[in-house]
Symmetry: C2
Subunit: 442 residues, 2 copies
């Protein structure tokens, strides 16, 4: 290809989809602008370990600039994308209250999804999700803080509320959090307190669905549930959480009856909603959205009528593919390959074919469940598989080595080293609570 | 000793003084209550590495409960000490807006010092110090954020201001920060940006004193200054910082002339003031305070007229000893020994004798300066010594191993892995700035 001006690719989002697309374009003669509103890539599947004191932020969130520093055809731009003009083929990235207009020849939109509270955004202040580093640090502070508060609390009923942890949503993240809090309370933290027995902590895993880990084989759901119960986790399925406030939650059972549980710590992993850029694309292109706001794309991951725009990862709706890191990676790589092939002159449409590498969820240390097609694995063989897969997919040598080191220390030493609570958290939480009180009339 | 009720020791502060005192009392038949307003011990001498992306919070701030979990005679209490009643021999620890009254037979006050702005507390919002984990994360966010802002800034003058770092105070921490920012800008971050050359960053190390590292031998000050200048650090001595705002600083030279420097990032390590508990003790006991608020103690580290109360570490004024970790450790150990000997029936006064183990400051990787008495060391031998000493004194096996691992990766790989910037930081900073605007009429 001979041209004065190189083909300009804009990638929005530095998660799995955006980052893998960017790296795949490393040797392709294009100019890439990678835009994200944070400065880091995020290895979301391990975020729950940041929240429970095993890993540090740096372990799961390497600086994007560092990851692509040797790739000279990439410019990393910190900013929030506030507009995409499909006609003019430009993206507006806003930072410091100032917009930068970036033109593109190809666009990859990989902004993923946020936690959904099913129309109850007022729950968010009391029940943080687990989608960002901020979420993980907030949840970390709340979990370790709850044990401290329980130790200080003279009133038995309030002490019990501090020792009650409600996990709303029993997908992989909810299940992993339940297992982690069970380990913390039954093992890691035991003996560190004098006024309370941390093993008395009540851990509730709640879901509106009839079983936990609904994406997994039914046998694995049962095994996981059995293993969690052995660790003292109370599982309540067919239980819809219909109310969340500072002191507890309200649950509605299948019979419609409601009951309240006093729980100071609530963590919400029940649902996702696509990034608002999906709606922006749909409005301009006429593309359809799913009810979670994902963009229905063509079989090659492009926006209908806009072959130059790819939507990948969690924001993409295609063949009912799940919102997994693996889907984001493969669709990101696919978009990059299509761009490369087009630059080489290919005109045929390349259909995205997802290769299902399987699913894994770590329940507790030395116990995970996994499946690939009809093959299932559980217990310590599953856990070893989990370990290897996560080490392979972690970005960067230091992150891999550091995570492995932290795991060795945590899994054999049973201690949790990353559990600092900051004043910034507390100041930020109060500011958000005040904003929430101003917004929602109680 | 035979008694129904064990001797009750209250230790306020879980820094070096309080923690080492607590541990030294491990096998002594006493009941210890260790009170702190954070949940962690803090290895302050390495805080600058948390601020510059080398270490994680957990590496330098292990949970106090974890450190003393096997020591069954200790209860750890999260709370802020709001009152000490010398007559009734009780301490009031406040948490959750509720006070807990804790009686003592012996009291060790080890609450250290905070950053002093010499009466200009309004500087604090713009020029954070480096005394807490929060400070370190705040400074980390500001440093790495400044390079991001410079990359985005189209205006040359404002870009320069984003690339100007003013370090107020040229003691060990200021010098170490200058060296770190020099390494970041000249080495680690080079090549990661496209619009700016990070090596153009201006690093100002300012002090009102005539030389940097005034606590060190003059030859070492000169060597350190020479080494820093080689790395591009501008050293301005005899320069008083008389103004700090969001966009820059104002400096007054020895001739009284003032000039302004535009600098978006300011870090303040110029002075310390003792914890307010010093004034509380002085008020009730009639003890004298130094002008920095430290309590003048008797030669055995006790409060005049109150042999049951020990003041140790940074809060203690004795023989002009400096505010070093080593002084805190030794005076904490001394207080514990006196308590043990008294319980064994000894009545004679044990004078505290400080053994000067020397001073060390790491300027850049592979270059440190150190002294012990009249012996001085510099360059890589100093750096090796620095490495060994810090590994020995870090608390906990995992912290040592993790720090060593991070150092190997950082010093040989030149990368910085712990550089996450959080929204919590930004929310908290805005809340503090708003509070400051409400407090100080501008």
């Amino acid at each position: 290809m001979v041209s004065e001006q190189k083909h300009r690719v804009v990638v929005i989002g530095s998660g799995f989809g955006g980052l893998f697309a960017t790296r795949r374009l490393g040797k392709v003669p294009v100019e890439i602008t990678l835009i994200d509103r944070t400065t880091h890539h995020l290895f979301q599947p391990l975020l729950y370990q940041v929240a429970t004191g095993i890993l540090s932020e740096g372990d799961v969130a390497p600086a994007v600039r560092d990851v692509v520093r040797r790739q000279r055809n990439v410019r990393v731009l910190l900013g929030e994308v506030t507009d995409i003009d499909l006609g003019a083929r430009t993206v507006t990235s806003t930072a410091l209250g100032r917009g930068t207009v970036v033109p593109y020849d190809s666009l990859i939109v990989a902004t993923g999804s946020a936690q959904s509270y099913f129309g109850h955004d007022e729950f968010a202040v009391h029940a943080p999700g687990l989608k960002s580093i901020d979420n993980a640090l907030e949840v970390r502070g709340r979990i370790f803080g709850a044990f401290e508060m329980a130790e200080l609390e003279p009133d038995a009923r309030r002490r019990e509320a501090w020792l009650t942890f409600a996990l709303v949503g029993a997908g992989a993240t909810g299940v992993e959090m339940a297992g982690q809090i069970a380990e913390l309370s039954r093992q890691s933290l035991r003996g560190s307190y004098r006024a309370i027995d941390t093993a008395q902590a009540r851990i509730l895993l709640l879901d509106g669905a009839p079983r936990i880990l609904p994406a997994f084989d039914e046998r694995l759901s049962e095994r996981a549930a059995h293993h969690l119960r052995k660790f003292g986790v109370e599982i309540q399925t067919n239980a819809m959480v219909v109310g969340v406030d500072a002191d507890g939650i309200e649950i509605q059972g299948p019979d419609g009856g409601r009951r309240r549980i006093a729980a100071m710590t609530k963590i919400w992993t029940a649902g996702v909603e696509a990034s608002p850029l999906g709606a922006l694309l749909a409005k301009q292109s006429g593309a359809e959205l799913t009810r979670h706001g994902q963009v229905k794309v063509r079989p090659d991951c492009t926006l209908p009528g806009h072959p130059e725009i790819f939507v990948v990862g969690d924001l993409m709706a295609l063949d009912s593919l799940p919102g997994l890191a693996e889907v984001a990676i493969q669709s990101g790589l696919h978009a990059a390959s299509v761009i490369r092939h087009r630059l080489e002159g290919e005109t045929a449409t390349r259909r995205f074919r997802y290769i299902d590498l399987g699913d894994l969820a770590a329940i507790t240390r030395f116990y995970a469940v996994g499946q690939r097609g009809r093959v299932v694995v559980w217990g310590w063989p599953g856990w070893l598989l989990w370990l290897v897969v996560h080490l392979v997919f972690l970005t960067g040598f230091k992150n891999r080595a550091a995570a492995l080191f932290s795991w060795i220390v945590t899994f054999f030493g049973r201690s949790r080293y990353e559990r600092t609570i900051t004043w910034q958290q507390i100041v930020a939480r109060r500011a958000l609570e005040a904003a929430d009180r101003a917004r929602v009339p109680h």
